[in-house]
Assembly symmetry: C2
Homo-oligomer: 202 residues x 2
DNA sequence: TGTTGAGTTCAACGTCCGTTGAATTCCAGA
DNA sequence: TCTGGAATTCAACGGACGTTGAACTCAACA
């Protein structure tokens, strides 16, 4: 029964403008490199307004990053279907995400995690509990070697994102997505389902 | 005939102490994240002394990073020998470098490149002109697809470094080097010598 | 012994940062 | 019409940063 009075709408676009500017800034410079002040300026707004809407810089970052990256949205599509084409489906979906606005958010996480303590923890926990664990559960892999397989997949995907979207080495950065899919998918396929050395005794 | 007078030795260890502290700091936090002030403190020294020895922060970073990473030192050992074991030799050498003091320098570059404009340029040019080009020249690869092969290799190696040494996902981070070699080498081998999709027309 | 110059420190500069609290504007509801 | 409260701005805080220039210390040479 929320009875409210006072000015409500104002300019509802402002909030979105700030979010857009923040996504851009975090995606290009990472958490530490981006500044509330430049975000505010590029949204045509006072820095204090950013705090008014989103609280601290950390909270703003999470807003940018948690909303568009939800593994439940695309994981089923990758894991369902014929098992010997998981590689193709994973790489294709992955590139699709990175070429969308969500890719900017993903870049923000990747960039930040390289030089910032708490974002690297964020990334590690996202990867292990949100992605790798789900994958392991849904494909019926040998439970002993499954975590190893998942980690190997992560190395190839992370390196691909880094070289193609951040460091931008050629000719990879300008290569058509389908060429990348065809080139990289066999690696993923082998990591998931191919022969591997025996996992270390531990 | 350099005729010099005045105090010479003082404490010659200081310079090395600063370099060690800088390598540590840059390796852990990247270029932007590390600060001259904490480097100085952790070397037991005044910040101004760092400038006295090394000039600007940029110059100090280059000192840390350019000296220990010289591809001419290990590339020949990788490229020489039987062609169907390039993968094994590359991955093994790569892990060896990352587990040495030079690995700290490599981490510094990788971390910095994710959020800093001029270091990403540094990394890109190092990869393309110092590594990839040499590899392409020394192995006799099809000149059209060679750059594509080299870039694919770079994705796998960069992702491996990132996940094992920076994000530290398990069980990869604690896996024995030889297990990693056995698991990843076939990927490298295929990128170098295996079948690939036809390079895009360009 | 006196001078020189390298090693080292101190204090300060200007700049950018995240954040805060008070002030202003102005619409929606009473 | 009056007014509460959301939207927005302004000015300032305290802290961290890279860098600078002047000062001090003191071993080696003339």
């Amino acid at each position: 029964m929320a009875r409210r009075t006072g000015r409500r709408p104002g300019n509802p676009d402002t909030r979105e403008a700030i979010l857009a500017a923040a996504r851009q800034a975090f995606g290009e410079r990472g958490f530490d490199g981006a500044s509330i002040r430049t975000i505010a300026t590029s949204a045509g707004v006072d820095p204090a307004l950013v705090h008014h809407y989103f609280g601290t810089k950390e909270q703003l970052f999470l807003e940018i990053v948690q909303v568009p990256i939800d593994p439940r949205e695309f994981l089923p599509g990758i894991l369902a279907g014929s098992k010997d084409e998981v590689g193709v489906r994973l790489v294709r979906t992955f590139l699709g995400v990175w070429d969308s606005p969500a890719g900017t958010a993903a870049a923000a996480v990747l960039r930040s995690a390289m030089s910032n303590d708490w974002t690297v923890r964020l990334l590690r926990e996202f990867l292990t509990t949100q992605i790798l664990r789900r994958v392991v559960n849904q494909m019926d892999l040998d439970p002993v070697e499954a975590p190893h397989r998942a980690a190997l997949v992560a190395t190839q995907m992370a390196g691909l994102a880094m070289m193609r979207y951040i460091v931008k080495i050629e000719p990879l950065a300008s290569a058509p997505a389908e060429w990348v899919v065809a080139a990289v998918a066999p690696t993923i396929q082998r990591y998931f389902a191919g022969p591997l050395p025996a996992p270390p005794a531990k």
